[in-house]
Symmetry: C2
Subunit: 322 residues, 2 copies
């Protein structure tokens, strides 16, 4: 049996799934469960789902050995109040005192933090950021988010939203972004945008009579294009897909250079679903960012892939109480 305080529970509260796991003192995910978030059913139901996922962990891990429960949540998280404001895609959710609600069931240490910040903390303590005291963490997936690690600790900013790299503009006349602005890097490289851009480009490419393995990979259905398939085609040597991802790396490098200059950083750790792109995309990001940052940031500029990937959210949440 695990003695008292030998593991913590981490909760990664997504809009679709709540992933909850037991994490040991070395930041290893021992195991985890997934439950539906039921975000469309309102906060009360979501919190019931959350509590039940933790109880499921306690069925196989002794409650007495648990150091506490950490929660990573989307939206604006007020860490001291333990409350979550307006998480996107959660129905009827304005301002909910999550920790107060969870405390009704569990009288052990509780903590809450923004989900991107949780993932950043996990990479800083246990992942690709271990060798970097200061870095920008980027989540490249449905959207593009981020977290800032300064001196090995999360830098939250005045309202906990520091590091929103996805809404850095790279062209003020660029594509419309869902945030209301134009030319945000997310409006080029967020999952839906990247897929759509690639579809449009491929249609044009095929019209010119050129060939691409990406077309074959989706059986001619260009609506089925998604980043994982572009990566697969690129890895198989498809020059169209290589060019799409090379440009993606270049553009992300542009945004990172702006962020590095503003935050006085020179290292980025890239996680999220789309960060599974081939290695050459990282080289391209690094080249592009190095060309653009101020001279003092150039020599040590590094852009590396996150290590913990899908587990970063749970591990980072658990580490809030470790």
């Amino acid at each position: 049996m695990i003695p008292n305080g030998q593991y913590a529970v981490g909760v990664d509260m997504g809009a679709t799934t709540i992933k909850t796991g037991a994490v040991d003192l070395q930041g290893r995910l021992l195991d985890h469960v997934s439950v539906e978030t039921m975000a469309d059913r309102g906060p009360h139901r979501v919190l019931e789902q959350l509590v039940s996922s933790v109880e499921e962990i306690f069925r196989t891990h002794p409650r007495e050995a648990c150091a506490g429960i950490g929660i990573g949540s989307p939206g604006v998280v007020r860490v001291e109040e333990g409350s979550v404001h307006y998480p996107p895609n959660f129905a009827d959710w304005t301002d909910v005192e999550v920790l107060k609600e969870v405390r009704r069931t569990f009288s052990i240490p509780l903590a809450i933090e923004n989900d991107a910040n949780c993932a950043a903390i996990a990479e800083a303590r246990y992942g690709a950021g271990r060798e970097h005291k200061d870095f920008l963490f980027v989540i490249w997936g449905t959207g593009i988010g981020g977290g800032v690690i300064l001196d090995r600790r999360i830098h939250r900013g005045p309202s906990g939203a520091a590091g929103e790299v996805g809404h850095v503009t790279i062209d003020y006349n660029g594509p419309q972004c869902n945030c209301g602005s134009r030319g945000c890097i997310e409006s080029y490289l967020g999952q839906r945008y990247l897929s759509q851009r690639t579809k449009d480009k491929l249609a044009e490419y095929l019209r010119l009579g050129k060939q691409s393995a990406l077309r074959d990979l989706v059986g001619g259905d260009l609506d089925a294009i998604e980043p994982a398939l572009i990566s697969r085609a690129a890895e198989a040597g498809d020059s169209f897909s290589i060019e799409v991802l090379r440009e993606a790396g270049e553009l992300l490098g542009v945004a990172l250079a702006s962020v590095f200059n503003v935050l006085d950083l020179h290292v980025a750790v890239i996680g999220g679903g789309i960060s599974a792109v081939p290695r050459f995309v990282f080289d391209e990001m690094e080249r592009s960012a190095r060309e653009r940052v101020l001279a003092p940031h150039r020599p040590d500029l590094r852009i590396v892939r996150a290590l913990l990937q899908n587990d970063a959210g749970i591990i980072g949440a658990a580490s809030l109480v470790l």
Copy 2:
């Protein structure tokens, strides 16, 4: 006679002029002197000039009443070491231990900080930032620089360079910037760039047979265009100059929106020579930035003019030891 510790000396070390003043406990500049920097003569000569400027202050203010000397310097300043690395436009200057050198002459408390950070500190303590706990300070002049105030204190970043708003890209295909990148906001709005852009636009405008009071203001010599004259023409109702400055405000707003999103801020204080533009330019910056930042930053977004202007450097430097 002023009792001990009733004022401090602030030194604003520019590439052309060293401005040194006596600043009282309320942050008021009592008086100041200017000496040539002689930056082309190497660090030794520059430090002699600096020391002589302080001695000039001590001729009219009792040395015994001085709390210390604070120095604001361009370049990368290592605050703890008291050293300055590679200040732009200073000859033969790689890495100089400024405080160690100054301490040979003055055995009173000494401190040093980056010059933009000094101005930010001055605005935070005594200027337009007093009512804002967290804000971005921007110097809009020859170049565009900045400093970040978080919780009323300077946020230096890992190497003291946080807040380099001038090298935020607003169009990755934009004009070449002197930093080596493209489309930095400085490459649109730094003094030289803004003047050149305006000259090119005015030449085109005149070619189309249109009239502008700006042309008359420079007696037809378009090379004489500079921001102060564009402002003067705009204030006199010249529609060409109004449009030039309106666009400048819009573009600066684009860069500020990116910076606000990354730093989790919603207030900017704009100083530097060009910040003497008419009020409508600030309205335009605010409109542009508000349209582009993430929703939580919108309601309280404010872009205001710095209060201390040319004195901010001296006052901020002095306040390092106050």
